[in-house]
């Protein structure tokens, strides 16, 4: 599991630093497939197969949705980065290390799974906070959820299928609604750039 955990983190760091939306979508989709394979490798119970299927289907549907959005909202020029890629990566690594330092061991199957879970949550939060492009902010949420999926797979005992499927459905709904907003923001402002969303400010 440790190799898988750190592969997920490496893919997550890629989402933070790269510029192209389609590559970022490919990276989070790759994470979902790695998680699905990990769920299958965990054991041979029917619950494990259902969990792996839920993760795989979630990954495919999200990838299709995001790629559809990328095609529908082609940008004449990329959204300005705001914060430089290396600074974003540094912020994410710092937050991840802080979380790993602050949170005591909480009982996942391996210590690496705990560290990778916290790292992925940190990567997701930093992606959503520091990237201006609307699609990247949604990918930040997906990164967090992938970290939580890793934690769910590494829990002692059998997975909680009702909850895992519910979480996957909720994430798909949120992504779908985010897609509606992304398209409308693109139509309204000519770019999926959250820097345009600054009219509601109180001094």
């Amino acid at each position: 599991m440790s190799g898988i955990a750190w592969a997920l983190v490496a893919l997550g760091i890629g989402v933070i630093v790269i510029r192209r939306r389609s590559i970022a979508v490919a990276l989070v989709t790759a994470q979902a497939f790695v998680l699905a394979v990990a769920a299958l490798a965990e054991g041979a119970s029917a619950d494990d197969v259902v969990a792996a299927t839920a993760l795989g289907v979630r990954g495919v549907v999200l990838a299709a949705l995001f790629l559809f959005l990328v095609r529908r909202t082609r940008e004449t020029r990329p959204v300005p980065v705001g914060v430089a890629p290396l600074a974003r990566a540094a912020a994410a690594v710092t937050l991840a290390l802080a979380l790993i330092w602050l949170v005591p061991p909480f009982g996942l199957e391996t210590h690496e799974a705990e560290q990778a879970t916290l790292s992925l949550v940190a990567l997701g939060l930093v992606t959503a906070a520091m990237r201006r492009a609307t699609l990247f902010q949604v990918l930040g949420i997906v990164l967090v959820e992938n970290g939580l999926a890793l934690a769910a797979l590494s829990l002692p005992g059998e997975p909680s299928l009702a909850i895992e499927i519910g979480v996957a459905v909720d994430l798909l709904l949120v992504a779908l609604v985010a897609g509606v907003f992304h398209q409308r923001i693109f139509a309204e402002f000519g770019a999926g750039d959250t820097a345009a969303l600054r009219s509601l400010r109180d001094s």
Partner: protein
């Protein structure tokens, strides 16, 4: 199934029927059918609320459902605000200009998402375990975000986007806390983390504290507690008025109930004082952040939104303090806030028709330009300010007294000062709104005023009855039920 299980099923299924019917009912019948289903849903939910309050035995229905007095209060609030929002929605829809959706389908999508939101909202206080509660809360995000951005205007898109991203991230953090609890408990599925079993799990106290803080920090993003409240003023001010009422008066207390249940469930592991302190911290921070904005001239709905921040802070303080006085105050505050806040948002419909610039600016002199509307605005704002005999005055006194009762004099004293400052800010806004200098020049008829006037006539005696009830409540069985919780 037992009669209680049937009732819960009806309460959860009826609004889903409404969501489905919105897609098939003919356009001419749409509003009538939707309001009819809304009335049926509210009747079923109010019956369930009465059962929960009057027969507080057999609280758990398996691992997934719970029907207890605290949940009963919230279910009752969601029922009342939901049906009132449904009744004023036709007026809102008849006045709307533009939408996030195609004109021909916008009304249907509004009703479908409205009922879907209402259904999952009703599921939140009935959820019997942490996992189910989280799922229901997360599900409210998708439906309500569409409603926040419903007008399709740039400002609504901004508000909806912030709401979607911030609350989803927050709930991700909350889920991390829940997974930590499950892991520390040895696994077995999140649905095993029922409100009854949680207090008896043998958890490492350090892990439990971190998990509790993550859980509450995540829920705080949804409740709108400072410092993770940024979406709240935007979403409440840009959403359609009936939806703003549901968000403020029903969604926030429903999620707050989950925070409260978590506190009660984890207090045996992490300590009553520690568990309460986190809530008191969020409460004081929310009051401190809200007060300066209550002193500024704000657009009407934005003023109500900052008032929500203040009142969620007050409720957090009451829950954090615990004890008979504070919890009696919380029960009164949740219901009184729902009545007054919902009325305020409904009054925004005729207000915006009467004075369109009120969508972005403070209003003045409504008591002279449209007296009936002025009365509605005055009742709402006066009650929210805590102007006697508002029930919120009594509940705030009870909560502050509750702080002293449980030995938290500094927090109670700070809360009293902040509440006094908030009171002054809102009272100034009240005077300005009613008898200040009229600011708008182009005034129009206040469309939808009759419905709001009727609601005001209903709300005033209810508010006064709450004030009277507040004097009796601390010694009641309801408050004893709230203190016992589900553990």
């Amino acid at each position: 199934m037992t009669p209680r299980e049937w009732l819960v099923t009806v309460v959860l299924v009826l609004p889903l029927v409404g969501a489905g019917a919105a897609g098939v009912v003919s356009r001419g019948w749409l509003c009538r059918v939707m309001t009819g289903i809304a009335v049926l849903t509210a009747l079923a939910a109010l019956t369930l609320a009465a059962v929960a309050l009057l027969e507080p035995t057999h609280r758990e229905l398996g691992r997934w459902i719970v029907v207890d007095p605290a949940g009963g209060i919230i279910v009752g609030v969601i029922a009342c605000v939901g049906v009132a929002s449904a009744l004023v929605s036709p007026q809102f829809l008849s006045m709307r200009r533009g939408s996030l959706f195609q004109a021909g389908r916008a009304d249907r999508i509004y009703w479908a998402t409205f009922f879907a939101f209402w259904a999952v909202l009703l599921a939140v206080p009935l959820a019997g375990n942490l996992g189910a509660a989280w799922l229901a809360i997360e599900a409210t995000t998708a439906a309500s975000a569409l409603l926040v951005g419903f007008s399709g205007r740039a400002r609504a898109l901004e508000a909806g986007w912030k709401y979607l991203i911030l609350t989803s991230l927050g709930l991700g953090v909350a889920l991390l806390g829940i997974l930590m609890l499950e892991s520390a408990a040895g696994g077995g599925g999140i649905e095993m983390l029922t409100w009854r079993t949680l207090p008896h799990l043998s958890l490492d106290s350090d892990v439990a504290v971190v998990a509790y803080v993550l859980l509450l920090a995540g829920l705080a993003a949804k409740i709108g507690w400072a410092p993770v409240h940024n979406w709240l003023p935007d979403a409440h001010s840009e959403a359609p008025a009936p939806v703003s009422a549901l968000l403020s008066a029903a969604l926030l207390p429903a999620v707050l109930l989950v925070a409260w249940r978590s506190q009660q469930a984890l207090a045996p592991t992490i300590g009553v004082r520690t568990a309460g302190s986190v809530l008191v911290g969020f409460g004081l921070a929310s009051l401190a952040v809200a007060v300066p904005f209550l002193w500024q001239s704000q657009a009407w709905k934005r003023l109500l939104a900052y008032s929500s921040l203040e009142h969620m802070g007050v409720i957090a303080l009451g829950v954090g303090f615990g004890g008979t006085l504070a919890l009696a105050g919380v029960a009164i505050h949740v219901v009184g806030h729902a009545l007054a806040k919902a009325l305020g948002f409904y009054a925004a419909i005729p207000l915006l028709a009467h004075e369109p610039r009120a969508s972005g600016h403070g209003v003045g002199g409504i008591g002279t330009t449209e007296p009936a509307l002025g009365v509605s605005l005055g009742v709402s704002l006066g009650a929210l300010a805590g102007l006697p005999p508002s029930p919120l005055f009594v509940s705030e006194v009870l909560i502050v007294a509750g702080g002293f009762q449980v030995g938290r004099p500094w927090a109670a004293g700070a809360a009293a000062i902040l509440l006094a400052l908030g009171f002054l800010g809102l009272t100034h806004a009240l005077i300005d709104t009613l008898i200040g200098k009229p600011r708008g020049r182009d005034r129009h008829p206040a469309l939808g005023l009759r419905a709001v006037t009727t609601m005001t006539i209903v709300a005033v005696p209810l508010l006064l009855a709450l004030t009277v009830a507040a004097l009796w409540l601390p010694d009641s069985a309801i408050v004893q039920g709230l203190i016992r919780g589900l553990g």
